[in-house]
Subunit: 367 residues, 2 copies
Amino acid sequence: MTHARLTPLAQSLPANVPFVGPEAQERSLGRAFKARLGANENIFGPSPRAMAAMAETEHWKYGDSESIELRTALADLHGIAPENIIVGEGIDGLLGYLVRLLVGEGDAVVTSEGAYPTFNYHVTGFGGVLHKVPYRDDREDPSALFAKAAEVDAKIVYLANPDNPMGTWHDGAALERALDDLPQNSLLLLDEAYIECAPEGTAPALSANDPRVIRMRTFSKAYGLAGARIGYAIAAPELITAFHKVRNHFGLNRAAQAGALAAVRDQDYLTQVQTKIADARDRIAQIAGESGLTVLPSAANFVAIDCGQDGTFAKAVLDALVARGIFVRMPFAAPQNRCIRVSCGRPEDLDLFAAALPEALKAARGA
Amino acid sequence: MTHARLTPLAQSLPANVPFVGPEAQERSLGRAFKARLGANENIFGPSPRAMAAMAETEHWKYGDSESIELRTALADLHGIAPENIIVGEGIDGLLGYLVRLLVGEGDAVVTSEGAYPTFNYHVTGFGGVLHKVPYRDDREDPSALFAKAAEVDAKIVYLANPDNPMGTWHDGAALERALDDLPQNSLLLLDEAYIECAPEGTAPALSANDPRVIRMRTFSKAYGLAGARIGYAIAAPELITAFHKVRNHFGLNRAAQAGALAAVRDQDYLTQVQTKIADARDRIAQIAGESGLTVLPSAANFVAIDCGQDGTFAKAVLDALVARGIFVRMPFAAPQNRCIRVSCGRPEDLDLFAAALPEALKAARGA
């Protein structure tokens, strides 16, 4: 078999990773991070009930290919039908399936400059053509996204609310109004990975059967199960059913299904985590302020700190933090890349960040 | 978004499941199976060390996108380099990636009539055209497969050794000789999911750098971690690298990585399981014999029992077993569908099967 037997599309793709993970960075650095604040994981961890459910799992059995118990619990939580829900291998996995269903070679897709790279990876991977619009005031710009979608006849428009990497958000009612301008032939992919961290009213009050939208949710963020790789999408049954055409039917980890189910059933724990996240956001703002920096308002489990200069300077701050054992990340696109992005950690994680930030700024200013 | 916005390929695909899982069958039946002997899971379970490693996992962290520790341990086990190994979401997941890399719409792929349906699902899902050759003497027929590959210019030739659903196998040395007839432009996909259950010498002694072959292995069978969804492929580095073009880089469950690593390091436990599997195969043969039936020789963790008549009769036996709470499956294609396929269970599982089989045969004969 020669390399030339790859499909022409596969030949054209790069073999690189959207993100370099913290473990890979630790191997490059030759030591472990002291504070893991870069991947927007939930350092407060999952519900103890989820931990127990996972520990008790009979790992020798394949998981339920229909995820019935979990889909039923999620349907109850949201007041919708199980037929409106597909469970998948994290939002990353679901993004891949959705793009595969809709995007053929040459098809147009719209997203924001600097938005989630893994979505872009899937679009490129299936031969789609990305059209990007800039953020407006460090927020995604629905009007501009929908106008671009009309212009290029987009199959999908990607919009994260709250947004990653900035943490900014739109009020749900504003999004509902903006939807009037979504082209009839475009599907809005509403990435709500951080919605449980956001104020009441951030999620638009849309019918689960609204054919204009698919919403994606995850157990990786507020629910603290990033390692389990499990998320779900909410959409009209016709679109949900289409996932069965391409998904890996027995691809879900059995313990992840059990852990997610226990997590959904422990909404009290989620409430506790939401408080811890809000406290951590405040603390990060305080730490930034002590160094004369400002933060962007955040409805997510991380905060973007404006380092006050350009992307080169923010990168120097980031590198100096990483060199001090503090794992953080930063936005990719200008002018958002004047910021660094710090995940909500425990008080002890943020103490380490508080100690390192002034040194990192000093190092970056001297660089 | 209208359904018509799916890609033409996606529109053409059915939304059905290659297999109906045991949980789905239990929901249809309205009760739980008494013995779960249909999915070739390893009922003896994983190593206690794997269980412990999974229970201790910090589920809030994403997994290592490079699976370095696991790939290094596997490389040591096989005496190859980590660059020869890609870890993925079970063989099912890896099959999907491989097909996506190689098979474009209209490309030819060769497999056996009645072989693994999930492979076929992926080929169809990417628009490939399947060409099937019959089994010979209830075994896959390498010569016929490779001749068909030459005839249709196949991108991939699928061959499972040991075979599923029959449990039969080829000696590794015979496969090595047969490889001389593999067309230069075809890749042999050697599915070795059951290789740890097979006699020494069943795996061909091929270089991991041999560009003609990719081998797939799993933790779902002998290692007892089906629910974890983790497997790996061995191939030349050029082909392994290509997986990075399309794979879900952060798609692996962190606990699965930890469990697989602990399982690889506990080869003593694997040896114990191999003995239990061999004993269970003998017991299944004995049970069949007590009902006047014969079994096919098996190098896997299941045994095909020849029910002595046609597929209609075997299906009646299967249905009667299922009605009695015994979950088994059967081959899809004639004449192999004269058999039922029974997974290696614990003595108590096989006691239940032994009690049900005579009744099931009686019911089928009376039907």
